[in-house]
Chain length 290, copies 2
């Protein structure tokens, strides 16, 4: 609140013109949970299961076999190429409208295997409040996530109150098809942009064209975004969400298989960036805890 006051007080030397009030938030692990696997991967798993009756060959073909048998150790053993195959199968070969409809149906009904809640209810109440608070002070809030841009846009506008065009993420290629006067855009099985690590400042420059004055993340994948923000000549604020609550959420950092926070934690401490200790700083984690 001190930062926002210093940024918005027209009499202050640290006043920031409205056009420069750009705030960027990571999504997985920063705005909603990401354990035991990125939620977008659960979407892919659910889609494979729904598609399986039309693909009897998957019963004997990896990586589908392992997935359909819920054999996660075997699935992980298949490696990154197999995971990309699952993503390609579930995220391409359809129009953007069809994909959007599919994600919307899933987000409205699918429940997290551990928390037994809708995925969209596993968002962080303090971060929702932070987004709203910044917006109320004329900050333009963006999501800058390694997650899929089309996946997030299907639900994040409603859930976070952030417009679709302010949601940036990883993407696969797509093509326009005039389709005899009923034009569609078709999603292709080829990576276009990986919005993680070095990719985050690059994505910010490409989509926003302006260096943020505020950035929030939770992992080493967000470090470059925070470094980029910290290099702003205008007064800036860097925040790391630290997952310290093994009871209400999950506790993990330096050695986690997802959302590793190691170099980032060292740099945050060295540079005195803000660190939100979920266990001790947050009265409420999820909106339903209120």
């Amino acid at each position: 609140m001190d930062y926002v006051k210093a940024a918005t007080d027209t009499g202050s030397e640290t006043f920031i013109p409205i056009a420069d009030r750009v705030a960027t938030f990571d999504n997985d692990g920063t705005l909603w949970s990401e354990q035991p696997l990125y939620f977008q991967f659960f979407y892919a798993v659910d889609q494979i299961k729904a598609m399986a009756p039309k693909h009897p060959e998957w019963k004997t073909t990896q990586p589908y076999k392992a997935l359909l048998e819920n054999n996660m150790p075997e699935l992980m053993k298949q490696g990154e190429k197999a995971l990309l195959q699952i993503v390609a199968t579930t995220h391409s070969g359809m129009t953007t409208d069809e994909f959007d409809t599919s994600v919307r149906q899933w987000i409205d009904t699918a429940k997290h295997p551990v928390k037994k809640k809708l995925y969209k209810d596993l968002v962080y109440q303090p971060m929702l409040e932070l987004v709203k608070y910044l917006q109320a002070n004329n900050f333009k809030v963006f999501i800058v996530s390694g997650g899929g841009i089309d996946f997030m846009r299907a639900w994040a506008e409603d859930v976070y109150g952030i417009p679709k065009d302010q949601i940036i993420g990883s993407s696969i290629k797509s093509k326009f098809d005039y389709n005899n006067g009923n034009p569609v855009i078709v999603k292709l099985p080829e990576l276009e942009f990986n919005d993680d690590k070095d990719g985050k400042p690059v994505g910010i420059q490409r989509f926003i064209g302006r260096k943020p004055v505020f950035a929030a993340g939770n992992s080493d994948g967000d470090l470059q975004m925070l470094q980029w923000t910290a290099s702003n000549k205008l007064k800036n604020f860097e925040l790391y969400v630290h997952h310290t609550d093994s009871v209400r959420e999950w506790a993990y950092d330096r050695k986690s298989h997802i959302g590793t926070l190691d170099k980032g934690l060292d740099e945050a401490i060295a540079k005195k960036w803000a660190i939100a200790d979920m266990k001790n700083d947050w009265k409420v984690i999820y909106p339903s805890d209120k």
Copy 2:
């Protein structure tokens, strides 16, 4: 005005919720002039001339030789590869900040060889008014141009009143460099995205994530954007600017080497899209004509 009234009247069956009021404008030939060459190419020419003293070898090397000798026929004979080389020389190998500074200096001082006015004064007054009118009615206005995204963002925010993150264009690749704690983004000599023709709806989907309800262009390069907009189930409006004024601006359409309007003109007539006849419909072309 009938369209905007129908779109914003809450009692109307054609009412459009604010979040869906997306308007996309081409830039070259739609918001400012583009003859006898795209203005961004004049920028490249001016940069080559400024850089020439440090590159004595250019006096004898094509395509630089032709350019430095103002030998346009010879330069054109060098073909597309040579033009791309000139663009790469002047648009990459520097940081995004350095490029931005260079374009700003140019746009504030460089004059058009025929009109003898600043390039930024060769914008269309009626289109400026249209952009403002849509914005005043809660339309979110975007530029979707084949021109360079970083080139436009250096000046278009000020000149058109359209925020940088709502300016979409063609791009070259870039990379993040931590640079010992003074991070920069460096522009690389490799095409990333061509925001023209089929690329326009693809760019709209990638950057905006929502189909427009309003689109304006002036050439066949905008046709797919207008087709995409026309396929919106919400009430939509398509506009072609037709260059018909050889005295106050330029007159060209079906056979022009730049901004060709041929198939688009046929389709506009067949589908009764709006066509702005610059000679007969516009009292004023440039702001200085007022």
